[in-house]
Symmetry: D2
Amino acid sequence: MFVVTSFGESHGACVGSLVDGCPAGLELNAGEVQAFLDKRQRNVLGSPRREPDKLEILSGVFEGFTTGAPICLVIWNRDVDSSAYEEIRHVPRPGHADYAARARYGGFNDYRGGGRFSGRITAGFVAAGGVAKAVLGRIGVEVAAHSLSIGRVSVGGEFTIEKVKRAYESPVRCADPEVSAKMVEEIAKAEAEGDSLGGVVEAIATGLPPGVGDPVFESLDSELAKALVSIPAVKAVGFGEGFGASALRGSENNDQFLSVDGKVSARTNRAGGVLGGLSSGMPLVVRVAFKPTPSIKREQRSVDLMSGKEVKIKLQGRFDPCVVPRAVPVVEAMCSIVLADQCIRCGLIPQVLR
Amino acid sequence: MFVVTSFGESHGACVGSLVDGCPAGLELNAGEVQAFLDKRQRNVLGSPRREPDKLEILSGVFEGFTTGAPICLVIWNRDVDSSAYEEIRHVPRPGHADYAARARYGGFNDYRGGGRFSGRITAGFVAAGGVAKAVLGRIGVEVAAHSLSIGRVSVGGEFTIEKVKRAYESPVRCADPEVSAKMVEEIAKAEAEGDSLGGVVEAIATGLPPGVGDPVFESLDSELAKALVSIPAVKAVGFGEGFGASALRGSENNDQFLSVDGKVSARTNRAGGVLGGLSSGMPLVVRVAFKPTPSIKREQRSVDLMSGKEVKIKLQGRFDPCVVPRAVPVVEAMCSIVLADQCIRCGLIPQVLR
Amino acid sequence: MFVVTSFGESHGACVGSLVDGCPAGLELNAGEVQAFLDKRQRNVLGSPRREPDKLEILSGVFEGFTTGAPICLVIWNRDVDSSAYEEIRHVPRPGHADYAARARYGGFNDYRGGGRFSGRITAGFVAAGGVAKAVLGRIGVEVAAHSLSIGRVSVGGEFTIEKVKRAYESPVRCADPEVSAKMVEEIAKAEAEGDSLGGVVEAIATGLPPGVGDPVFESLDSELAKALVSIPAVKAVGFGEGFGASALRGSENNDQFLSVDGKVSARTNRAGGVLGGLSSGMPLVVRVAFKPTPSIKREQRSVDLMSGKEVKIKLQGRFDPCVVPRAVPVVEAMCSIVLADQCIRCGLIPQVLR
Amino acid sequence: MFVVTSFGESHGACVGSLVDGCPAGLELNAGEVQAFLDKRQRNVLGSPRREPDKLEILSGVFEGFTTGAPICLVIWNRDVDSSAYEEIRHVPRPGHADYAARARYGGFNDYRGGGRFSGRITAGFVAAGGVAKAVLGRIGVEVAAHSLSIGRVSVGGEFTIEKVKRAYESPVRCADPEVSAKMVEEIAKAEAEGDSLGGVVEAIATGLPPGVGDPVFESLDSELAKALVSIPAVKAVGFGEGFGASALRGSENNDQFLSVDGKVSARTNRAGGVLGGLSSGMPLVVRVAFKPTPSIKREQRSVDLMSGKEVKIKLQGRFDPCVVPRAVPVVEAMCSIVLADQCIRCGLIPQVLR
């Protein structure tokens, strides 16, 4: 029902999203969506590419409220220099989709800046996520994300959603100021060595009533997994204990129920808020692994697809040594999109919001 | 295009799948599909429930070949005793979907044996997966799965698809006979203690050409993640290095290309055969974490939903201390279904197979 | 949301439907659905094939109520004699899909009795329609259909839904007893001459509030048109004045609004209850044209696809000289399925009916 | 596979389409698509609104070829004066969706110029249709449309696709110059009387091989019916003989097969090129009825939704006395979109066009 379609390329005219199925009557504060989009960018450590990323809403909003019609969200591309990509047009970069894309599209894909495979398309996801967050706000569902680890530096402890929300104060989106400083160092070190880092982002959602989702195949966790794995550079997703659950015993992993003021709750939340594809009533907790940025300034080995010969390449251009900080609002957006969709499907959000 | 819909409940008339979009002209050996379905069952360690799980093909196959029409696959339920479930009708079992399902369906869901949330519905997935495997066989794509760990016992080393295929010789579907024996012990120990175990299943697919998939949102890994997380008890999914990739540096994680007899290949396969949502041309490698069976024979705490009071329960009935061995063909089936769909979408498999 | 998938073939094991997205908690009277299915059959004039058409509900219903899980509806085929079809295996029958199906499925389609293209598959539509009618009944929406014309005999006048519902008393489903008798004669005459007839079926739905539907492409009339044209032998669909509207002037065709007890209504209903893809609040009126049964007992010209030579054929077997009377419940069912889906999408029907 | 999503409103920033699933490698001549879009507009008789309707392609095309990525097509709105719509904000216009839309969207819909329900959104359909026509051109499928009737003036005779293509030379898109002149008069007369006209548009497609489509529910004619009924003001659709087929006998309506140079053909084409939901190999022939423009300059009766009182209104503003001439390329576009999609689904068009 709340369906997001993505379009645009890294070095084309724009990137964008089309949001279909957003209820009518939602007061959409363009400034708030823009502010959320800015979180993907305002980053002392990020890629030197510095477009303003100004959002334009082309349709579906009238007099400040959603109309129920499709919302077309566009972020124009500026400050584009594609010259650095000319030399890799026929030499696939290790860790990138270049070679696979060439096979898929017969070489007709826009290779500049990674084209359709660029992390830049996530700007469109964040804009759509901003709309989804506004929808969810109407039923008291909050979503927030933060960096759990960058490279080998990770943060521990318990995270309430309030704490997670404050992570945006850190340039690396880490909720703990001390660990944040170490992560900043870690990135600087990798960059200095011409290398790159990955990391883990965690998202938490509160306010979800129990029973949101479906058993198969459109289950809550299935749809979240699908959306999150669609984010460029994501290699794994886990709910609650995630892979760790596989080494626990049932008696350790089961969340025992309890009754609080006549309402059912649970003593623990190892399930991460999902049971049988449905929300359990506990906070949703999902973790996403990002691989290190494949673009590095070191010499790498590849194949010249025109000659068939092995070659060595050293990438030029502007790239981010670690996408994790910028990925935090992307993960938050993706979770929000799926949750808005699921809540609409389950009838929790009416077609007209008043 | 190759779309599988699931239906049926644990203690209803049947479980089944409807497969739409299977090409016409595929010679469908019912015995082979049945044999694949048997792998989900013929298991010395499994649940004491012992139906024959006989597959019936109700439509879409004529004179031994698929017709291009929807294939309805049914596995009739027999040997059903629902009495043990009467006492938990209003007392949700920890780790199960009972409480969430009640919220979702207003208590109208079939609670017997977990109903729609039971692992039994995966019999339908396996039957559909058997059809998908036959489709993939026509273009030389092979899929196999095995147990990578059960509880804290795990197997190491390199796995070729030939080795993985032999894992079915082991009762716990482990490719290494020694580790297999330890896993058997581990399960026996947990069972003796009234407890349960989880584990990790790995699937490998070979023969996939590069370029199968799409960037977003119907990407190869997104669709795999969605399908795999739909399997009951799955809590995490990772491709290639998975979560481990987040702690590597770009220079460690990138798979350098090389040229072998004029064809592009890669020195390593940390990406697990997926880059940018497309197959990379290397084997697909995906790992799936199963939580321990939530049904255990120990006393657990819950809430009586009629009285609102906390209660203690000790489950009766027949349950498997570890679903991992039986989940191996399920993971294999799910991967096969997604790969068949993606290969059809990309035009690798024609509408009529001759 | 209320999605119906069809499966089965004319001379295979069964025909059936899978209904996904039916709300939980609907009291489903199997006898009522069976009675509706019987209307497709209990017909003095129909095809000599006389199966009992007994409906079996394989899933999704528990203790007399829908569970929210997919409902698998099966009607087993019996009394099947396929021998008459052997001679037309390679000789396409004029007016049938034989030749096109052979091109589509490479000759692997089940040709017996028309296979997947047989009118028999509409039994599955009617069963699903019976469920849809029960859903609609919960919000006071009623759907009924009747024969408007058979061959060149047509009925005139105004039709209330009460009058239309009584049409089932007529063997040809015509609301006017005198015209009904003429239609019976017309069919008898065509049959005696080895020929066949078509006709027009009209469906009316009352109780739909205004605003059900969407502008494009999932509009109320678009989805109705799609579903109705899916019925075998349908060649045209019109809403309200239909093709007649094209010859009217705006001043004649516009339905002027009026206020009745503070509620908006209209003086006329030339729009047939749909404006801009949404329900207008007036009764829905849709007409569907059925071509004459292509199977006739006269000599026809065709081509032997094995030799490439022109041949003459004279069909043997059991066929109905006019499908219109049996198509009436099919049209009613298809409209009900679309309306249930649209009402669920618009939030008029909750996920749990109590 | 070739999926078109529509967005935009009459008086918003733009109207547009997002085309997903277009094969890569299609040489897309922007001038040709623009020329097709111009046919919707360059019309001596049309609405006085005279925007240039300049198409902008925001994504999915690179160096003159499609990339396989979503193609975002935008036509910016200019020359917009919304003042005339202020007085009808709370007074629904007869024959328009105003009242239904208010019910659907709680009054939040953009009412200016009909907003989402305006015929203006068809500019986006035509742009997408231009892409579809280019795709179809690669396999020799041609689509053309013309006016069959306007008001009570209609054209008779046989129509080859060559003749139909020349209809664009007529200002009313009528293939016969004499009838064209009469239609021009008819429109002038209705306009002089402050009234409006409807009409019938016919589309023909040649070059379709037999077997394109599916039995149910995604059949060729079902999908065409759905797309065509989505065009604002369409009230009926018929294939081949359409409603006329209902009054024929089987012996008259069946198209007898014949063999021409070893290829199967038919003596007649009463089926309009569709049998059993599949293309028959004969030209596709479909007719679409447009109701008269609901906006007329005569006094009409409505209800003031704020006071609940009946009122009389006389519309101001710019409107077309007959949309049929401008609808001709829209019908052609819609048919092209559906045919491109169906041909891709059936594997007739590869994922990469070289």
